[in-house]
């Protein structure tokens, strides 16, 4: 099976459309979404509808958790908080009910899917370094985990000897003797100095992992955001991917 794994769409409809078009050309059997469909961007409703229509599974992200008021006392930065309030006002009961049903994690064949980390997934830790990845590896027995949340395409590999190394995300063919945590990057708000949307295709038979980068009309997204009075930080970062 060829599985497309998308994450962190963040209400960016132009990016989502471009990625779905790219997926259509690549003989994909199933699409899964690792969460954060909403937040930051101007089109949370359209993105939720499109994801509901096209993705076989969509996981809970911290932005969905926040919209549902389930983040508890976990801090959110000012911009994220403001954008969450904006998003919340646009979601009706039907969309809130859709979000409520998003699971925290999911397993397909031997592949574990989660938004932030296998370690305390509902506390939304960031896996940016090998020590943080190590905590993730310790919390799951899965051979390969796919996650999002940091918006940084990264591959963490744990050898049998316990050595954990990280690399920038690129096409690879994993080794049986390692375990992997694979960050699939972000569709709607890439932060690796490349403004193109990022997602991953996994061939579950050959276990080949392909990173896809898809250009989209970010100027249109920016235009909508400016019209909606979105903070300039959120608007500007789309052009530089940071």
């Amino acid at each position: 099976m060829r599985l497309a794994i998308v994450s962190d769409i963040h209400g960016n409809l132009e990016a989502l459309h471009a990625v779905l078009r790219d997926i259509e050309d690549r003989q994909v059997d199933r699409i899964v979404c690792l969460g954060d469909v909403v937040g930051y961007g101007c089109d949370p409703v359209a993105c939720l509808d499109l994801v509901a229509e096209r993705c076989a599974v969509t996981l809970m992200g911290n932005h969905e958790h926040a919209v549902l008021g389930q983040l508890g006392d976990q801090p959110m930065n000012e911009v994220a908080q403001a954008s969450m309030e904006w998003t919340k006002q646009r979601l009706d009961d039907r969309h809130l009910r859709i979000i409520e049903r998003f699971p925290m994690d999911h397993t397909i064949e031997n592949f574990y899917l989660v938004h932030a980390s296998p370690h305390q997934p509902d506390k939304w830790p960031y896996i940016l370094t090998p020590p943080a990845a190590r905590r993730g590896f310790d919390a799951t027995s899965a051979w390969m985990t796919f996650f999002g949340h940091t918006h940084l395409p990264t591959i963490f590999a744990l050898s049998k000897g316990g050595q954990c190394r990280s690399r920038f995300g690129h096409d690879f063919q994993p080794l049986d003797e390692n375990r992997y945590l694979v960050n699939v990057g972000s569709v709607g708000q890439p932060r690796d100095d490349d403004p193109r949307s990022c997602y991953v295709i996994l061939d579950t038979n050959t276990v080949d992992v392909y990173y896809r980068r898809v250009p989209y009309d970010y100027k249109e997204t920016q235009r909508k955001m400016v019209a909606a009075d979105a903070p300039s930080l959120l608007v500007e970062r789309l052009a530089i991917g940071r």
């Binding site: 590999a157 190394r165 920038f168 690129h170 063919q173 390692n178």
Partner: protein
């Protein structure tokens, strides 16, 4: 302390700073640099450090090891040399910087059949022919719309608009002798003798530059490629 910058399709994926005397490169975990791609052999190549010199040795890999686009079996590495293994390139630095396939029956390594691999092999074949023909380093270019090869067998080879230079170059405001290629210590250096920005190597203006195999030199409107005759 050497640094090796690992790139995949021109994007940096890892920087490795090492003081080891020997670095192994291959597909399996027991290598120092693991390249997880079936176009890479299990034990593909190794870099050995001896008396400040680094030597890369290809371990009879299926798809080969290239240094500056030239297929090698063993090669002394110089700063900024680019080692290509499958779709990966490894840039070697002497000092750390701040910043439709088939499988071989041997070890499951795929035969790479990509355009880049084919181009590199063809390029390698042509360059080896040129080097064999002239027995040393050569600049290739065009003269009167014909492919031309200029053997670099002098201590100084001059390039410019003057009648007496060894290699003619075209372009407005080019000096009589715009540049010279100097042979020293087994290396060739390109030196700009005239106006700045008239001499470029791989697109960058230079005043002086040690040439590496495959470097593209533009002088005014003329373009040359440096084909190195070592090894």
């Amino acid at each position: 302390m050497a640094e090796i910058v690992v790139k995949y399709e021109d994007k940096v994926i890892e920087r490795i700073v090492t003081e080891k005397r020997r670095i192994s490169i291959g597909r399996t975990n027991d290598n120092d640099i693991v390249l997880e791609n079936r176009g890479v052999s299990r034990k593909h190549a190794m870099i050995e450090f001896n008396n400040n010199a680094a030597v890369i040795i290809d371990n009879e890999s299926l798809n080969g090891t290239f240094v500056n686009n030239r297929k090698i079996t063993e090669e002394v590495l110089r700063d900024a040399d680019v080692i290509t293994i499958g779709k990966y390139s490894l840039v070697y630095h002497t000092e750390a910087t701040n910043t439709t396939d088939e499988r071989s029956s041997l070890d499951g390594t795929m035969v790479l059949n990509t355009k880049k691999q084919k181009d590199m092999l063809e390029n390698d074949r042509v360059e080896k022919q040129i080097v064999a023909k002239y027995g040393g380093s050569v600049l290739t270019g065009e003269e009167n719309a014909e492919f031309a090869e200029y053997k670099l067998d002098r201590e100084v080879t001059t390039i410019g608009k003057a009648k007496f230079v060894h290699i003619k170059a075209k372009g407005l405001f080019l000096a009589g002798i715009q540049a010279k290629v100097v042979s020293e210590n087994n290396c060739f250096s390109l030196i700009n003798l005239g106006q700045a920005r008239k001499v470029k190597v791989n697109g960058e203006s230079i005043s002086r530059c040690v040439l590496k195999n495959g470097d593209l030199i533009s002088i005014g409107k003329s373009t040359f490629k440096f084909v190195e005759g070592r090894g």
